[in-house]
């Protein structure tokens, strides 16, 4: 996302419209333990992907970690699976 940043000031209850069908409303601004919290209401088509940035980043990091799997990893998983499925008394084999 290398675009310039548009900065707008809004009051509670006011909104911004993005494109034709997305509305972001400031619902409330609160302070808890010295930190400010802004509650946003987003009206958008149901299939639009909206994530908290940190969730998006976490999934991305998890996918990147998963992409490093090797054939050795694969074989080890299959082995552990067989061990898990074996009757308990056979697990020591």
């Amino acid at each position: 996302m290398g675009w310039p940043v548009l900065v707008l000031t809004r009051r509670c209850g006011e909104s911004v419209i993005i494109a034709d069908d997305i509305k972001v409303t400031i619902i409330s601004v609160d302070t808890k333990a010295g930190r400010a919290y802004v509650k946003l209401g987003i009206t958008a088509p149901a299939d639009l992907k909206i994530y908290r940035e940190e969730i998006y980043e976490e999934i991305k990091r998890e996918n990147e970690a998963a992409s490093g799997a090797t054939l050795t990893d694969f074989a080890a998983l299959a082995r552990a699976w067989r061990q898990m499925k074996a009757p308990a008394q056979d697990r020591s084999k």
Binding site: E62, N63, A65, W81, K85
Partner: protein
């Protein structure tokens, strides 16, 4: 050994790899285990995936609600669910991403990674039960834990 390949197009890619759309799921006909490779057809990129129901029989996310356009008009039998497996240095500590599973529509050949907002499913759930993870053997308890974060 021959290997069956099922082609799956991820129109949105997979988060972190958005530019890579075409994958194939490699199915070992000898069924030597539940794990599969999901391999990009044109890049050197592959994920280990697994059917989550084999480890978490109760895992039943609301797929139709999470991606209605992907599953619309398709019989449930033609939909498959996979989770991506992350393997750390000790493979027994492997985890699966239950928060953002892969939904595959077998009828259309389309797939998507679908984050389940507000579901509470973990991003990294151990796939093997504790006795396997700790290398202990002969203990009962083959039920892997899936603690909610």
């Amino acid at each position: 050994m021959t290997t069956d390949r099922v082609r799956i197009v991820f129109d949105e890619g997979i988060l972190g790899f958005e530019d890579i759309r075409e994958y194939e799921l490699l199915v070992d006909p000898e069924e030597r285990g539940p794990f599969r490779w999901l391999r990009a057809t044109s890049e050197k990129l592959a994920f280990i995936v697994v059917d989550p129901h084999l480890f978490w029989p109760d895992y039943d996310p609301d797929i139709a609600g999470a991606c209605p356009d992907l599953v619309d008009g398709t019989d449930r039998k033609e939909l498959s669910l996979y989770v991506i497996v992350t393997v750390p240095d000790n493979p027994l500590l492997a985890t699966a991403n239950l928060f953002a599973p892969l939904v595959v529509n077998g009828r259309t050949g389309k797939g998507r990674q679908v984050p389940l907002r507000g579901s509470g499913f973990p991003l990294a759930a151990h796939i093997f039960p504790e006795d396997i993870r700790e290398g202990k053997v002969g203990l009962a308890g083959a039920c892997p834990d899936a603690q909610v974060r």
